[in-house]
Symmetry: C2
Subunit: 352 residues, 2 copies
């Protein structure tokens, strides 16, 4: 059997971890959860050459140096990078990868490049469960067994287990980010998982469902790849063709509409690190409950996360703060308020 092709989605340029994360160096290229960038950690997760083929990476031209700089080791030195001419969300990005993978029955493991997975064994076990279903033509999504009534994730309701495929359930329905009471009800009822945006599926099956449910997206992606230029490990789809491609997520365009959609629930220490609070939740703390990174001087400080990058941050007598500073910006919010970064970033953009 052929190996799994890791498909790594690295087109994001989110600002939820501003001011550290910027469009020049978005979150996936920062060493947030370890001393390695999240992009490097994602590559390493698919670094076992006995299981994985060389990776396909989808990213932006302006980040090409950040991506190629991480392509080391036997498996990844031969990785290919598809440079999106413009951002069109995940469904077209995965289409480009499926075409680059040959469009046949090769199985792709689609992963965002900016998630944390702490329990690699659990993740590999979930892949092992999902693989027979994927080979059999199921579009498998990995669900995260919820650890709390989170309102920031979409949920997936699981239906009956599939015959002869242990650990794999068919999907009853996808559920939008819920209000708190609905999240609590799903948690209490069981049988629901967070939608983590990680998938295992055959390239041909994905393109088949895309052609059925988003034919224009499928056609323009194929046209863009037919007219692509190649330079070493870089693939540049045709800009004009890809510009005509509609923009949509894989969930909306394919998963919620397709036949034979399955889910493998897992508990693998997953986090999407979607906010400074989320990063705080997975960061190790000192005895005072602080996570201090960079040049920080703190007295009588507790339960705080402080990151200094190219600047010295000093504190005394504070608690429950998130402080992130570089040479140009300082951000201060209380713990639990890191969603406020959004309006701060908007305020800064609006005056530029």
């Amino acid at each position: 059997m052929s190996q799994i092709i890791p498909v790594i989605l690295s087109g994001g340029s989110g600002t939820r971890l501003w001011p550290l994360s910027t469009d020049t160096r978005p979150k996936q290229f920062l060493p947030l959860a370890s001393k390695y960038s999240m992009f490097a950690e994602t590559l390493a997760r698919a670094g076992d050459g006995s299981r994985f083929d060389k990776a396909l990476i989808i990213g932006a031209e302006r980040h090409v140096a950040l991506m190629t700089g991480e392509l080391t080791g036997e498996t990844h030195a031969r990785a290919r990078i598809i440079l999106e001419p413009c951002a069109r969300n995940t469904a077209p990005a995965i289409a480009l990868a499926a075409i680059a993978a040959g469009g046949g029955d090769a199985v792709m493991l689609v992963m965002p490049s900016d998630h944390v997975i702490n329990d690699l064994d659990a993740f590999m076990a979930a892949i092992d469960s999902a693989l027979p279903a994927a080979r059999d033509g199921w579009l498998v999504t990995f669900g995260i067994n919820p650890t709390g009534p989170e309102t920031g994730f979409g949920y997936i309701e699981m239906a009956a287990p599939l015959d002869g495929l242990p650990g794999v359930h068919s999907v009853a329905r996808f559920i939008e980010k819920p209000p708190r009471d609905k999240a609590e009800a799903m948690l209490a009822a069981g049988g629901h998982a967070w939608n983590a945006g990680i998938f295992l599926m055959r390239a041909d099956r994905y393109l088949q469902e895309l052609a059925l449910h988003a034919p224009e997206m499928c056609a323009t992606s194929q046209a863009a790849m037919q007219a692509a230029t190649h330079e070493g490990q870089l693939i540049r789809p045709d800009a004009a063709q890809f510009a005509a491609c509609p923009s949509d997520s894989i969930d909306y365009a394919v998963m919620e509409r397709a036949e034979r959609v399955a889910i493998v629930p897992m508990s693998c220490g997953w986090s999407d690190v979607g906010s400074w609070d989320a990063l705080g939740d997975i960061s190790e703390c000192d005895p005072d409950g602080n996570h201090l990174s960079g040049d920080v001087i703190a007295f009588d400080t507790s339960n705080s996360m402080v990151r200094a990058d190219g600047i010295t941050v000093t504190l005394s007598g504070v608690s429950d703060l998130i402080v992130v500073a570089n040479g140009s910006h300082v951000m201060i919010v209380p713990k639990g308020r890191s969603q406020d970064v959004k309006k701060i970033v908007e305020a800064i953009k609006s005056r530029q």
Copy 2:
């Protein structure tokens, strides 16, 4: 009658307003309480040519550009600057000025360059009260009528009013920075004032008392001035002679020992701006109780003082904080804790 000679003490290099105040640009050269530096505000306070002669400034060689840059206007363009070869506290600094003033019966108004006086009329009225006593040979100190049981200032106990000199009292005794209960008792008893370090006295009387109580200080100051070099408006006392001068404050060396020491109490909106909290007390606030200065973006923030210098500071959901940031350092303390700056500065120095 001759005009009063302003003597402006500008040798300080305190770090109580770190990280804005540094040895390169200490507090007196910062625009803290208005858009002008405190040094410029001090000069302007003695800018009325009908009352004041050209000023004598005592400062450090490394700040000469900062000082000369402020010497504008008819009165101050001709000011002279005495550049201390080394720091020897206030008693020798004032001795240098008294000698430069000619050592005769000219009256000197000695003022630190880093204090705020908001009610100039009240200050001038106090000077008018003090002037006859000073001309008569009294060493007059200005006391601040206390507005609270402050423990950060020395106090002066006033004795009986002087005959024929309205508003002027003889001094009963000087009192060191008191503990809280003693400060409260003095406030309740009345008849006590804060020692503000502002004086009115004849040059000859000061030198006479200095010769009596600190003869070595007097002799070395005179030797340093006799061997001084002159360059335009700059006076450079001899370094070797001045290095031999003992270091002491005017209070310890002269005022607490001299005969004919008087006090004029005043209420003139005075502050020594001795901490970020002290600056907060005299700063105007917006309706949310914030004092924001520089490039600051604040949402849902209250009762906070934020100063950004060459950097953007953003906050959301915080209250009662003091935040001061420049391109190299950020300091965050709760209101009421600005004395913690001292240990922060010590920590930074100790690792250099």
